[in-house]
Structures are given as structure tokens and as C-alpha cells.
């Protein structure tokens, strides 16, 4: 070293240069460039003349991106998936294949990742498909990609995705909220599910978890609900769709799917029949009959009328309902086919008024299922969910609750919660316990639930 410093200096300089070249090489040969050349070759094959082939081959090699501020994302998927909106590429190999059946979900407007998952900002396959550490939404497989419909279409049916509606129904009827919070409502025994769709869980994992929770999470207190395979799949769809992401104005205005069925539901919900008649049925005489209204007015006129009735028809008493653009579309779609029979059904189908006592019990029943009591105490309040090391080893049945408690005592237990008594004081506390509901339920709601429980008691009291 003593006298060789110039040589060492020179050698090290060369190494620095070599490393710099390495870094440049690493940075300048991305796979997407090769894909773009390949795509141009594929396109050139379809061109008739040499000149046309030439000009296709000379296309720009650059990163393509779809900026979606309304969805808070930037999708660069089309850097490689170049044929995604080109029908002539229907038979091309991946990544150039045309994406059929997008319906109104144009790539330019929606990008790719909102439905498919993956990492939109990335431009190499592994990272873009999101199957890497620290990316919570890997690409969804074909079986489950339709679950994403529920990310925007949070209400109502989505045509072609019956699993979503079924999953939602199961969630609300099986008392999942008793333990799980969703959008701020629910218990806290299990994890909050508001962001479950962005939780890096594999669909297969979720499905197996629904079929047998303890096979995947041995210490989980979640009971086995003995779901069928279809039900587990429906719940998985629902889980994958859960996100609190806020969509921009455009997306939230169109997220309702404008089907005539929805229009019919809205027509009933908004009580249009109170003022309007259809084919002479219902309504008051001074409001126009709506049979055939779509033939008398243009769709544009009807749409404007629904936005602001007073502006289109001065002096109109019709209120301006705050309907989204797709809701208005649905309503007009329904009016297009509405008949006197529909009106008749709506008039007769209105819920009959319950007597006050029965209404109270019905409300209690609704609360009982909505706030998730059924999750542990069962759909028929029969109890029976295993709860190791509690006395009896199960969540208690509530059928005979009136034998052991007064109404005041039960209301107090609901309000303040209760730890189940231990079967063996030395073993760990049972995983399930009665949470305190006073934060979530008003005293009135609690008393309704109590009334509901008492209404279920066998009628022997009457004889006694």
C-alpha cells in the first residue's frame, strides 16, 4: 500500500465506475419496455402496408398512466396491459388481452386497481400485482374479483354478484355486529371490519375462517356458525368489499345501479303514490297521472323535473327529492314500465300499522338482531355457542330468562355487561363475555329488547 496509492486510487475509481454502470443498467432495462416493443410488433402484424407497420413499430416507449384523483389513485397497469381497451386484442396473449364486459366502467375513468386490486403505481409485474410484502391489496383472483363491486356499490343488488347481497344479509342477521364493528357500529370483542377489504387477507383464508374459525385462529373466540360453502363464499365477498375509502363526487353519484327494480323501490319509498296516480290508481287528482309519462316527456325533461320541479313546472308543489343521477335514471326506468297494477300493489303492500305493544316487541327484535345479540345467543335465543370455562360451557339460552331475572335486572346486565361465572377458577377466563351496551344502546332500546325477550317466554305465566 505504501507506494501503491496511485494504483489503489485508480482501481477504486474503476470500481466506482463499474458500480455506477451497474446501477444505470439496473435502472434502464425495465421489463415494461420489452412488453411495449412486443405489443408494437403484435399491432404491426395487423397492418397491411410496410409503411404502416413501420409507423406502428416506432410508437413511443413510455410509461402510461391513468390519473384518478376521484379514486385517489394512479394506475400504471396500462404500461404493460396495452390492449385492455382494444377489441382487436381479444385473442392476444396476456398482458395485452382486451378486457371485455367492462360496461360503464371504462378503463380511462376507473383504472384497473379499484376492481382488481394490485399496486397501480408499480410498473414491474411482481410489485404491480401486489404480491409483495407491505402491499395490503394484492391482485384478486378471477373467482373473487367481483367482490370489488361492493367497494363502490355499497347498497342494493349488484347484477351478477348475488354473493355480495347474500354476504351483507348474513352479516346483519347472524349478529356479527355483536362482536365486530363495521363503520363505527358494533361490539369490540372481535376486530373492526371497516377496512377488512384492505387487510392483506387471502380470499381462501377468509373462506376457511368462516367455515371453521378455530382451524386458522386457534385462540379465536369466534363461534363456528356452521355456514355452508356458499354462505362462507358470500361472506368472503362481503369482507373483501369492505373499505372506508371515499370516492370522488363523480363516482359516488353513479355508484347506485339504475335498474327499474330500484326505481320501483324508490317510487314506493318516496311515497310518490300519495300524490301521483298510475293508470288512475292512487294519488290525488291535481297531480299528473304517471302512466305513459315517459312518452309524453323526454328523458332529459323528466330528469330535470326530478332535480328541481319548481324550475321546470312553475308553481309545482312537488318537493325536490335529493336523488343521485342514477337514482333518477332508475326512477324514470320504472316509470317507463309502471302500470296500474304496480300502483295497486304499492297501495296494498304498505305495512299495516301494528298495535303499540306488538310494535315495541318488533322494534326489540330488530335491535336484538341488528346489534348482534344473535351472534352469541342464537337466532332463536337458544344460546349454545361454546364458551370454554364458563359455567355450563356455553353462552346461556335466553328462553327462560324471565324465570331467573326481573326485567330491571336484565336491563342492567345489558347496560353494564357481565363476565360469565367461571367453571374452574384456575383456568383462564372464558373468551366470550357480555359486553356493556350502554355506549351503543339507549335505555329505550334496551327496554325494547327486554320486552322482546319476555314476549318469547313460554305462555305458562298466563296460566299461573
Amino acid at each position: 500500500m505504501e507506494n501503491r496509492t496511485p494504483q489503489v486510487f485508480f482501481a477504486l475509481s474503476l470500481i466506482v465506475l463499474a458500480l455506477l454502470m451497474g446501477a444505470i443498467f439496473q435502472a434502464s432495462s425495465p421489463a415494461w419496455k420489452a412488453y411495449q416493443h412486443q405489443f408494437y410488433r403484435l399491432e404491426a402484424q395487423q397492418e397491411p402496408t410496410a409503411a404502416a407497420k413501420e409507423s406502428v413499430m416506432n410508437g413511443a416507449v413510455s410509461i402510461r398512466q391513468i390519473l384518478l384523483p376521484g379514486l385517489q389513485r394512479v394506475d400504471r397497469c396500462t404500461t404493460c396491459h396495452l390492449g385492455v381497451d382494444d377489441p382487436t386484442m381479444a385473442k392476444a396473449p396476456q398482458p395485452f388481452t382486451y378486457h371485455p364486459n367492462v360496461g360503464p366502467h371504462l378503463v380511462a375513468r376507473f383504472g384497473c386497481t379499484i376492481c382488481h386490486g394490485g399496486q397501480g403505481l408499480a410498473v414491474d409485474k411482481t410489485n404491480a400485482h401486489g404480491r409483495v410484502a407491505f402491499w395490503s391489496q394484492p391482485l384478486l383472483t378471477k373467482d373473487y374479483v367481483r367482490a370489488s363491486c361492493g367497494r363502490c356499490h355499497k347498497e342494493g343488488d349488484v347484477p351478477g354478484v348475488p354473493e355480495l347481497a347474500e354476504g351483507r344479509r348474513l352479516f346483519e342477521t347472524h349478529g356479527c355486529r355483536g362482536c365486530h364493528k363495521l363503520n363505527g357500529v358494533g361490539g369490540s370483542i372481535g376486530p373492526d371490519l371497516t377496512e377488512e377489504g384492505a387487510n392483506h387477507r387471502q380470499p381462501e383464508w377468509l373462506k376457511r375462517h368462516f367455515l371453521d374459525p378455530n382451524s386458522l385462529s386457534p385462540s379465536s373466540p369466534m363461534p363456528n356458525f356452521h355456514f355452508t360453502d356458499e354462505q362462507a363464499r358470500a361472506l368472503t365477498f362481503f369482507m373483501l368489499s369492505l373499505t372506508s375509502e371515499q370516492m370522488g363526487a363523480y363516482y359516488s353519484s353513479v355508484r347506485v345501479i339504475p335498474s327499474p327494480e330500484l326505481g320501483r323501490k324508490l317510487f314506493a319509498e318516496k311515497n310518490c303514490i300519495t300524490c301521483h296516480s298510475v293508470g288512475g290508481v292512487g294519488g290525488r287528482t291535481d297531480s299528473p297521472d304517471l302512466a305513459g309519462v315517459t312518452r309524453r316527456h323526454s328523458i332529459g325533461w323528466l330528469d330535470e323535473q326530478l332535480v328541481n320541479p319548481e324550475m321546470i313546472s312553475p308553481g309545482s308543489l312537488m318537493p325536490a327529492y335529493e336523488l343521485g343521477s342514477n337514482e333518477r335514471k332508475a326512477l324514470i326506468g320504472f316509470l317507463n314500465v309502471a302500470t296500474a297494477e304496480d300502483a295497486m300493489q304499492m297501495l296494498t303492500g304498505r305495512p299495516k300499522a301494528l298495535n303499540p305493544e306488538a310494535a315495541l316487541i318488533e322494534a326489540g327484535k330488530q335491535n336484538f338482531s341488528r346489534f348482534g345479540c344473535v351472534g352469541c345467543h342464537g337466532l332463536e335465543v337458544q344460546g349454545g355457542v361454546p364458551n370454554p370455562n364458563s359455567q355450563g360451557g356455553e353462552v346461556p339460552s335466553l328462553v327462560h330468562v324471565a324465570d331467573d331475572y326481573t326485567k330491571v335486572e336484565v336491563a342492567k346486565i345489558i347496560r353494564n355487561g357481565k363476565m360469565p361465572p367461571l367453571a374452574d377458577a384456575k383456568k383462564p377466563a372464558p373468551p366470550l363475555y357480555m359486553p356493556a351496551w350502554k355506549q351503543m344502546l339507549t335505555d329505550e332500546e334496551i327496554s325494547r329488547i327486554v320486552e322482546y325477550l319476555w314476549s318469547l317466554q313460554p305462555k305458562k305465566e298466563a296460566a299461573w
Binding site: T5, P6, V8, F9, L12, S13, I15, V16, L19, L20, G22, A23, I24, Q26, A27, S28, I63, Q72, V74, R76, Q119, L121, A122, V123, D124, N127, F134, W135, S136, E195, S217, P218
Partner: protein, 430 residues
């Protein structure tokens, strides 16, 4: 017609480097090089005297400034954008991930090297008279380096950054009286959020680097004034037992006393600053091993350049092989288990897990005060290792405890801060 050689001579005014005058002028006529002496002692540049750790730390700082400025072109200090800019650096900016890797690994390297440098200076007792205050400057530079690393840690705005800074600032918040206030001022609020990001950014790219530059200038200036690079003088003393100083010139009324000049002059190389009229009081030169002195050019410059190149090669090679971590976007609602501070604070976090007072207040305060006071606490004038066994033992124990705490905090703490060896996988935690 402008003569090229005339222009060149107007810029470079020294004599040719083949002459001794040219070699001397290269150094003292140049603003950037004149921190060097014209001649250096060969002995001072032995690798095993300093391991060039001060140089390497400084070179890493230069690399960090270079890559940092380049990164600033791509970075917007606002939460969602910051994270997207990280992703853009990773995926679409040409050599963006390499740039970030170099910056990240050089930053960790600088923290490590500055600590190793501190150890070297302690073990060679280089903080002793006349360099006491330069040790203090060095400790300030260590703290500034930690500050730079800590503020930079937040900028990617991923889960790692967010929770490390949350934990780190919480540790700081334990300090009595001012702790909570300092935390609030630093974060621009009570939580790590937009306010914290812009503050950390400004600290990271303006305030702290400027302070590091100022203190580094002071640090280097004092090294130069105190006789250049440190070396184990006790070894030289063993060889030459003669008094190292001779006196030139006529002494004034009272003869100069050796003590007043000895320490400062031991390592001092000869320098003529200015010719002034009047007779000097005295001049001293170190006679020992004058023949070992060589011109800085090219001897010192080659060695410094090689140290720089080795630093650069190491950082580049590491950056090509390993990518800087980038986790999911920061999510205040999703706490990783366990949430850990940056590695150099994990010793403190480990202490905090036992006692918030010890880890958050007592230990850091004592550590900083003790380090600052080292040259004043150690009154033993000898630099001979055999004569300062106690100092070496205490310092080694101090560093070892820190090291073990950091290792435990980094590798042996699992979910719930439970003692978990790194090879044990805890079910349910990725």
C-alpha cells in the same frame, strides 16, 4: 484572441506541482484545501491510528448532501404525496430507488461511523488537553447526526416511519417540565401528522445540515490548530525520551515556561502566517521525526481520496444489493405490534419498557451529560492505555450496555414487547 493558458494561469496561480513550491502553494493558495497543513507527518496517516473514521463520517455526510438534494427534487412533504413520491422513486424515477438506497444506507452508516469515531477518540485519549473542547463539539455533532437520521426517518411516510417517530417522540415526551412542550413544538401538534412532517422536513433539509456544517467547520479548524490528526504520541515518547521542544530566538525578560507551550505544541507543525515587524517572544518547533514529514500533496490527498472511494464503493455496493425499506402508507389507526423506534433509540425504548422515567429521562440525560463532560471528568494527563485502565473499563462497559440494550430491543422484542428470540415465529403475526 484570448489565450487559454492566460485564462488558466489566472485561475490556477500556483507553480507547477513538480516543484516543492507548487506543492506547498496548491494547499495554502486554495480555499478548500488549506484546512490541510502544507506538510503532514507520515505517521499521522497510519490506518490503525484513526481508522479514518472521522474522514469516513464526513464523506458519508457529503454523499448524503448530494443524494439528499437530488431526492428533494422529487419529494413533497405532505402525507399522501410524500408516500406516492416514494413509490414514484421506486418505480418510475430513473435510478430513483438507487438514489434512495444510497441515501438511506449512507445515513445508517453515518450514525454507526460517528459512534465508532467517538469510541476511537476515547480509546486513544485524543480528547485530552488541548482537545477537550473539540470532544464536546464532536458530541454535539453526534447528537446532530442522530437528529438528522431521526427527522429523515419520518419523511417516507410509511408505517415504519410513522410508528418509529411516534414511539421516538413519545420517549422524548417523558422528560419532565419541557418534555411534553418540546414534543408538541417538534410535532406541530399532539400526534404525528401533516404538521410533524413539514417540521421534520425543514429540520432535516435546512436546519440540521446547516448546523452540522457549522460545527464540522469548527471541529476541523480545531483539529488543525491543535496539531493535526491525532496519533498515539505515547508510542513515540517511548522511542524518543528526549525533550521534544527546543526554543528558537531570544527569550524575553522572563524565560518561557515549558508547561505553557508544551501541550499545544507537541503536535504542531510549523506554519508561517505572516511576516510582521518586531521580535517574537519565542517560537517552537517539534524536532521529533521532522524527517518523517512529507508534502500533503499527494501523500495525504491520495489517502483521503482512497478513504472516500472505499466509502463510496461500500455504500454503492450495499445500495445495489439491498433496497431501502418502504412499508404500507402510514396508518394511524393500525398500530404494528410491536411498534419500534429507529434502531439507535431502541436501547432507550428497551429501558422505557422497564421504567419510563429511567428510559425517557434519566438515561438519555445522564448519557449526554456524561459524554459532554468526559474530557473534564478525566483529569488523568496520561494518554498511555496502561495508565488509564479505569477510564477504558468504564467507557467499554458504557458502550457495551448500550449495545446490548439496542440488540435486545431490535432483535429480541416481539409482539407486546415480549422477550422473543428472532428465530421464533409468533402465530398470528406476520
Amino acid at each position: 484572441m484570448i489565450s487559454i493558458s492566460e485564462v488558466y494561469r489566472s485561475i490556477v496561480r500556483r507553480d507547477p506541482l513538480s516543484t516543492e513550491k507548487g506543492k506547498a502553494e496548491l494547499v495554502f493558495l486554495n480555499l478548500w484545501l488549506h484546512i490541510h497543513p502544507v506538510k503532514v507527518k507520515k505517521e499521522n496517516f497510519r490506518i490503525r491510528h484513526t481508522w479514518y473514521l472521522g474522514f469516513i463520517t464526513f464523506y458519508l455526510f457529503l454523499i448524503l448532501v448530494g443524494t439528499g438534494v437530488a431526492l428533494m427534487f422529487y419529494y413533497r412533504p405532505y402525507p399522501a404525496q410524500a408516500y406516492q413520491d416514494m413509490k414514484d422513486l421506486q418505480f418510475v424515477v430513473f435510478m430513483g430507488s438507487f438514489l434512495r438506497n444510497v441515501h438511506r444506507w449512507a445515513a445508517h452508516g453515518m450514525v454507526i461511523c460517528v459512534i465508532l469515531h467517538l469510541c476511537r477518540v476515547f480509546y486513544t485519549a485524543s480528547y485530552k488537553k488541548p482537545r477537550q473542547f473539540n470532544w464536546v463539539v464532536g458530541v454535539v455533532l453526534l447528537l446532530l447526526t442522530l437528529g438528522l437520521s431521526f427527522t429523515g426517518y419520518l419523511l417516507p411516510w410509511d408505517q415504519l416511519a410513522f410508528w418509529a417517530i411516534t414511539v421516538g417522540t413519545n420517549i422524548g415526551g417523558y422528560a419532565p417540565l419541557l418534555g411534553a412542550k418540546i414534543k408538541e413544538v417538534l410535532l406541530g401538534g399532539h400526534n404525528v401528522a401533516e404538521g410533524a412532517l413539514i417540521r421534520f422536513y425543514v429540520l432535516h433539509v435546512v436546519v440540521l445540515p446547516a448546523l452540522v456544517v457549522l460545527f464540522t467547520m469548527l471541529h476541523f479548524w480545531r483539529i488543525r490548530k491543535d496539531g493535526g490528526l491525532s496519533r498515539p504520541v505515547w508510542k513515540l515518547e517511548e522511542e524518543t525520551t528526549t525533550e521534544g521542544l527546543v526554543q528558537i530566538g531570544s527569550a524575553a525578560a522572563s524565560p518561557p515556561r515549558n508547561e505553557s507551550v508544551s501541550a499545544a505544541s507537541n503536535d504542531k507543525t510549523y506554519g508561517l502566517m505572516e511576516v510582521v515587524t518586531g521580535s517574537p517572544l519565542f517560537e517552537t518547533v517539534a524536532t521529533e521525526q521532522v524527517d518523517e514529514e512529507v508534502f500533503s500533496f499527494p501523500f495525504a490527498f491520495y489517502r483521503e481520496a482512497i478513504a472516500f472511494l472505499i466509502t463510496l464503493v461500500s455504500v454503492m455496493a450495499i445500495s445495489l444489493a439491498w433496497s431501502a425499506p418502504l412499508e404500507e402508507i402510514a396508518n394511524p389507526a393500525k398500530t404494528p405490534n410491536p411498534a419500534k423506534a429507529p434502531w439507535y433509540f431502541l436501547g432507550l425504548q428497551e429501558l422505557v419498557s422497564h421504567s419510563a422515567f429511567v428510559g425517557g429521562v434519566l438515561a438519555p440525560t445522564l448519557m449526554v451529560l456524561l459524554l459532554l463532560a468526559v474530557p473534564y471528568l478525566d483529569s488523568n494527563p496520561s494518554r498511555r492505555p496502561a495508565a488509564r485502565k479505569w477510564a477504558i473499563w468504564i467507557f467499554t462497559a458504557f458502550m457495551l450496555v448500550n449495545f446490548v440494550l439496542i440488540i435486545v430491543g431490535t432483535y429480541f422484542r416481539g409482539p407486546g414487547w415480549a422477550l422473543t428470540p428472532p428465530w421464533v415465529h409468533v402465530a398470528g403475526h406476520e
